[in-house]
Symmetry: C6
Subunit: 270 residues, 6 copies
């Protein structure tokens, strides 16, 4: 990798822990060296954001994360004019700052954003790598060290909010899933401080409940919830209370489903 | 609990009365010590807001309550630019103030807010605990003493307004229900000044009517309405008039249902 | 009643005429003395607004009436920043003025307002009695002499525009209906100047037509329309012309229904 | 009529021609003397606007006409703040000007306006006769010589755009229809300059086509179109060309319906 | 024609070519002399805009064309306040300029505009001929030489976007269709520079394809497309390529329909 | 070609590579010399944008590309007033700049834009070639060297977002498809640096998968994705990993479809 960087490298010692599932680190690095944009797909709480932070630190890149939502517009990314001292002054948005200075601009859950957000990425994600700022009349050429990463959760089958093919086909895509059993146990133990022996049945419970996704529950238990649960146990809460508060209640409001999930948990911890 | 606080503690003597239903105080305190965000679920008027005020006072934390609604946006929480003396000046919103200074930011009925509100909480409710302010270009790290608490009422089955799993799975969740009979009698008596003997049949009436929820009436009688009713009786209104004005009329507009509820009340006070 | 008032009392002699239907005056006064908010339910033109004016004058309270509509927002009630001399200056809305100075803030047909209006009332209608002004960062405690009164017409069965239980259960509720025959005759005679003998058949006609509500006509004849009709007769219009212009035409546009109503009227005045 | 006017009377000689259909002039004058608001109902082009101008001139009142539409809001009627010399200055809207100075404020096709427009009329159309200006904090009492007149066309059966009973029941209502044959002939002859003999078959044609309303054509031929047609004939156009251009083409785009209407016309002029 | 003009006449030599289909020139001129507004109906590209330019030049009138669309509002026509030097300054829109100075204001495809656009024309298209500017408080009387012309395409059967009868019945209406064969050949030859002999089969092809309108293709081939096609041929393109690029591809995206149209073309040029 | 250019020619050596599919270069050049606007139709990633860049460079024209989206309005193209030093100053948009200075204004995926965007092109795409700027009161005549090019993807069958015939019939239209096999192999090899021998099976895979369009996958594999895939292989990724990341994952999220596509790939590379 020989791209010149115009920003200080993050010291390697600060790289956040990340436990790879497959070839995603190599893929990301190849995409980075060849200036290809990347799309991360996967369920909530499986580690996509952490992966971006990990790779950014490893590659010595600053990362600017934008959580997308229904009201996020292109101007929130590119910038806007503000009144200062009676003058309108242009203020760059996070995408424009990354285009000018290099680094990763990470758009989390991009399908949630307004349609113009996907479109503003188009000229940045083909061989032009430019960002036209219509409001200022500028056409910015992206720094060599600029990279676009986006993510979304294909589990939500929302017809109104799919990525259009003309957008999707601009990204190298990496699919994520929950960690394999052993890696998930290790990760939860590290993050919560609870012993692996005590974490193991929590992970096994999560794996049983994930099978129910799409039937009784909308989404599987995330690794994040397992860490919450283990953290509460480590803080002294009874296991049953922690499982209810950090796993069952966040998954459902239906009394029947809730009772069934608690039954499964009780059986496993009996 | 060893978190350093940069704001004065509320004197313990001012802690609002709260009668616990189960382990919710211990759970909340564990979540607080481990910096986990909390979601409160439960019907209207069952004491969620009072619980937050109680715990905040007990933990010596200031609390900033935001009642969410259809038009509440992320900018209402994070802040916005205002014109002052010809300059645009940034003014922090309640969430940003809590992130900077510590304390609880309590978003009541979060599902009522616009979608960007849930998303603005995401980086504050994982291990990053940051609040990126795109408009100012700042990335704030939350004070150790900062805590997010949200609530919603799962009784409203509104498909358009559910919390997305990617949001739900960021919170330790506590379910609330109405108080058990004895505790509810005590609470209503304390708040209204009416004797427990006179409060008891009101609570019994409420408990009978709550069974009808989802059939003839949309929501059960809240403890708040019982306090209103007892207050009117204590102020000298006849019981029948107070029951009609503070229990029956607030529950329904349907003449048939109203007549049926009054019949139940009449039978109980006969 | 010992609440200190910080505004001059209205001289009792100016109290607008109001003819009570039942215990509504006592109920309202009890709610006032115990600082409970009040909800008035009832059909259009039955005297809800007049009742509020009457009680306000009787209790010596100023009243600020806001007619709610589809575009009314919380900011219209609480206040907003306006540009003055190059500065943005905060200007209180009618709710904020009442919270600061005391008096009744009356929101007429509250279900017509935008959703944030109901929510802005929540912290003012529980034991907190506060009004947080997010825009200015203030948290106002309501004057002891502050009272919220809202009204709506349950006759409109609009699913999109119902009061949520979490709002409804914050109010002592009083139901209104049209006046009983004798009182309505007296009221119409007083307001129009027409003799009671000539008013009586008009009231009888209205009572017959009110039975048709929900079948051929959307809403019953209001007392206000009877006053209009009597006023036109007193001004010299033939009875048939006045009945058509002030009763039949305001009720319906359907030629068949119109003919039927005129037939009923003709029979009664024959 | 003894109401003091604070504006100069229009000289009687300038009163626009109006040919009464029934008792509408007496009704309007009674409503005016008793300060009752008036609602005019009737099909397009039947003379409602002309009637208001006629009555206003006869009563010596200025009239301010507002054509309502989907985007008309209460602020367009009441006024708004404008920036002048760095200050925000309040500028009255047409309703506020009429409230302050007296005269008729005529809202044409009120159902087309946004919902807040109807509501802003409420306190002006009951015994209060006030206009609260929330934005300025003023409560204006209407001049004695202030009158509200509204109109709508019940022929459009648009469920989304009906007047609510709470609005309708605030107006004395007058129904309009097309002029009787002789009066319509006279009116068209006067306005177009064509002889009554040549106008008569045009009016007969219109009366035949009006029967088709609701079947093949959405609305009957207006008197205005007859005047257009007669005007073109008087200017030298062949009758067949004028009938097509001023009657048939404005009524429909359907080739079949158009052919049928031309057939009717041809038969009548044969 | 004796109307005084306050603007310089266009020299007659600059009148754009227009080949009349019927009596439309006489009709337009009659409407102009009698101050009647005109509505032009007809398919896309049949010459409506050219006709307006032709008549305007012939009558020595300036013409201001506004292409209507979904976001065009009344303020775009009448004018708005702009900030200049810290002052809000009123700037006339094209309709207001024409009302003040005379000339034709031509609203192309008026049904595409927002609803308030049609309504703003109402007082200008009856005998009042006034334009009330609510924002400035002015009521402008139209110049004698002011004329409103609107157009729409009845071929689009869009229920949401029909002209309301209350608007339609304010215009003398002229229907347009494609030119008869000989006139269309002449026009295309003149505009493209291609010989009439070579244009003739193109016009014949267009006439055959126009019959398919409403079946396989949404709209018939416009004269404009024929001119494009002839222009490409005149520039040296092979006939088949020009027909495909300027006639077939602009008509449809459906492969089956496209093949069928090319088949028709091939047969005719064989 | 004899059009005078008022901007410097791009040196011929900088013309981007483009491999013609048919007569599109000649067609474009004819349209340019005769000042006809051009519409490009075709699937995503087939080279439309590259073609415009190629032709612009070949003809020595600057090109201004606007990626259209749901929130793009006419003002984004024509310009708007901005506050500068207390004055509102007009700033030209990209379309206005091209109209004033000459060059190609290329609107990519025009059907995605708001409706007023298509309409603003109307007077520029007929014989008038003018751009009326209502806001400034200017009517700009386009430079001889001004050209409008638009594109869209007919593969999206979105009824709400079709080009209206009145817009379509203003453009000479060119259809694009994916390159023929040999040309696509050459192009992918040149752009990725991978040998033609290794690229060939990737192109064959793409051609097999494109047949599935409309059945299991929404859109065919673009040439861009093939270049991504070849680039990753050239960077050292295993072929299977590159195919999954750059072809399969960008095409679908459905596990079944994904498995089937991988099966096809496996068979071809076996």
């Amino acid at each position: 990798m020989t791209i010149a960087l115009n920003f200080p490298l993050t010291p390697k010692s600060e790289i956040p822990h990340y436990s790879p599932q497959g070839n995603e680190c190599a893929l990301f690095e190849s995409a980075w060296t060849r200036q290809l944009p990347v799309l991360l797909k996967g369920p909530t709480g499986c580690g996509k954001t952490r992966f971006v932070q990990h790779m950014a630190a490893k590659l010595g890149l600053p990362v600017s994360t934008v959580s997308c939502h229904d009201d996020l517009t292109a101007a929130d990314l590119t910038g806007r004019y503000l009144l200062k001292g009676g003058e309108t002054v242009w203020v760059d948005g996070p995408l424009t700052r990354a285009v000018r200075n290099g680094g990763i601009c990470y758009l989390d859950e991009i399908v949630e954003a307004r349609k113009d957000v996907a479109v503003v990425l188009h000229p940045l994600t083909d061989d032009r790598r430019i960002l036209p700022l219509e409001r200022t009349g500028e056409i910015l050429e992206a720094q060599p060290a600029f990279m676009v990463v986006v993510s979304y959760n294909p589990g939500y089958q929302n017809l109104m909010k799919a990525l259009k093919p003309s957008t999707r086909q601009r990204f190298v895509s990496i699919e994520f899933d929950f960690l394999p059993r052993d890696k998930e146990i290790t990760t939860v133990a590290i993050e919560s401080g609870l012993s692996e022996a005590k974490v193991a049945p929590l992970v096994d419970l999560a794996r049983r409940l994930r099978i129910l996704k799409g039937q009784d529950i909308e989404e599987g238990v995330s690794t994040r919830l397992l860490i919450y649960c283990a953290t509460l146990i480590e803080a002294g809460m009874p296991v049953a209370d922690a499982v209810r508060a950090a796993i069952v209640e966040p998954l459902t409001d239906e009394p029947d489903v809730k009772a069934a999930l608690l039954e499964v948990a009780k059986a496993m911890f009996a």
